[in-house]
Symmetry: C2
Subunit: 311 residues, 2 copies
């Protein structure tokens, strides 16, 4: 296999341009003998002469001309590649695959997308919304770069950083507004509407109500928080939703929202990624952005909803 080096190609290109060993060597920041040797080496490995040396002139051979044209193409591509690396080095850019759980996605995504696009113009955001187990699987398999989920995950091999905590609030028919805030025990007496199996939020809600092993007929599963709230508005039952969903979901339904008394149920949303991910540093940066976006979203949400405080 004929083999030459990029260095030789660069030296060659310089010599082809200057047609003078001394000058070309200066440009390459090496001594003239070094250039002579590398050119000789290159010609040797090619098995053909690139230059025709006479005492007074250095000329490209016909083969050298063609070689030079192609060599320049290659060097251009190589420089482009270096440029690509330089661009990708610090600034987050290129494809970034983020997974988000469904009980966060609708409320956080607009802000996340907006902020990330604004801060990292070269970013190609690739979003995936599904339940935690699938996110974890896709993350560990390398099909996602990071995911926004409820902590803790405690999956070995995955790093997790908290973003924010949010309380769960009770959503009940509008007519119930003003009634006393139910505690965990009285919740069990109500018809609780929950998300389908697989959603972590369902498990968290059940856990709060100590209803882990509730009889199925007491519950009714919805496929999204929006559905649940609409069902509550229709008087079918009550439900829990995370604080962040309040502004969006309770706007168009005759429901009332109330916080629980301490200890109020809550969850911590965080970001996770592989411990081995080379993007770790940039992902931490992304986490900061998401955290800020979430705070902003919650503030706006509270203002819009005139969120009632319950303690």
């Amino acid at each position: 296999m004929v083999s030459f080096t990029l260095k030789q190609l660069r030296y060659f290109e310089a010599l082809a341009r200057h047609r003078h060993f001394g000058h070309a060597a200066d440009v390459c920041a090496i001594s003239q003998p070094a250039l002579s040797m590398q050119i000789k080496e290159l010609e040797g490995s090619l098995g053909a002469a690139l230059f025709e040396r006479s005492a007074r002139s250095v000329r490209l051979t016909g083969f050298g001309e063609e070689f030079a044209a192609r060599a320049r193409e290659i060097l251009r591509a190589v420089d482009e590649l270096s440029e690509l690396a330089r661009a990708a080095r610090d600034r987050l850019s290129g494809r970034l695959r983020i997974g988000i759980i469904p009980t966060v996605a609708p409320y956080l995504l607009p802000a996340i997308i907006g902020e990330l696009s604004r801060l990292f113009p070269g970013l190609d955001l690739n979003l995936r919304e599904t339940i935690t187990p699938r996110l974890i699987r896709e993350l560990t398999e390398g099909r996602l770069d990071t995911a926004v989920v409820a902590l803790p995950i405690s999956e070995r091999g995955l790093a997790e950083v908290p973003l924010f905590s949010e309380e769960f609030v009770l959503v009940r028919p509008h007519g119930d507004a003003g009634k006393p805030v139910p505690d965990r025990e009285s919740l069990r007496e109500m018809r609780l509407l929950l998300l389908e199996e697989g959603h972590c939020f369902r498990d968290q809600a059940l856990s709060f109500c100590d209803l882990r092993h509730a009889r199925p007929r007491e519950l009714l599963d919805g496929s999204s928080l929006a559905t649940l709230v609409q069902m509550v508005g229709a008087g079918i039952g009550v439900t829990l939703i995370p604080e962040m969903a309040v502004a969006v979901e309770t706007r168009s339904a005759p429901v009332s929202v109330v916080r629980f008394a301490d200890p109020a149920p809550q969850r911590t949303i965080g970001m996770i990624w592989r411990n081995t991910s080379p993007l770790a540093r940039q992902l931490a940066e992304v986490a900061d952005v998401v955290r800020a976006a979430a705070a902003k979203t919650r503030d706006v949400g509270k203002a819009q909803a005139g969120m009632p405080g319950a303690g």
Copy 2:
């Protein structure tokens, strides 16, 4: 300036394909540590990670994916370049710029072109027909690779190899056939038609007739041997032409051709090239081909013309 080597690119490509340091190292015929170090080095010089290593798997990062695509393009171009060199190494190929003097070109070119094209399919023949001084100039300036001229040239810096020698023959009107063969002295009494100034053949003919300083009105200049022969046919005078031109030029004119008695005038046709030409080896090969082609042409010419022998 970020800089990596082709070797690193090849190693990287192998690892990107196999996703396994050991296997990739085997393919590259190096040890696993060597591969690890080169990849690490590459990532270091790029300032970004190409692979994500975990204990059980080696995966390309997003950046690595893009890098791999471009790296493969570059490696392909490099291999193509090597291939180009290999093709150019032994077999003569690519552009070959040949100059030929006008008193040889019409008679030798068909055979030369045919033979060279047949023997070197990759050859791009670039022909130039002009007088010797211009050929020499273009040759020394690197605008020609070789030239076919009458020897000797005795130009320092140019190598010359003889191809063949050919006699000059006398062309006289058809009615003169059978008349005694004139010697050099009697030639001076005839009206001699010659090529314009600058043609070496003119000088050679004049030299033979010892007419170096002949009075202009005794001569008549033609721009080609064909013209001269037609003029002879019209009874305007006599001329000398090289043996090789006989078959072609005397076919369509009422002229007779006769050889001179010994010592017959003659010239040696040869090939010349720059001493510094890297094509020297291949040009010597071309010389062999041209020599053979010339011999063949002369044989065919003699047979066709029923060339009269005069000695």
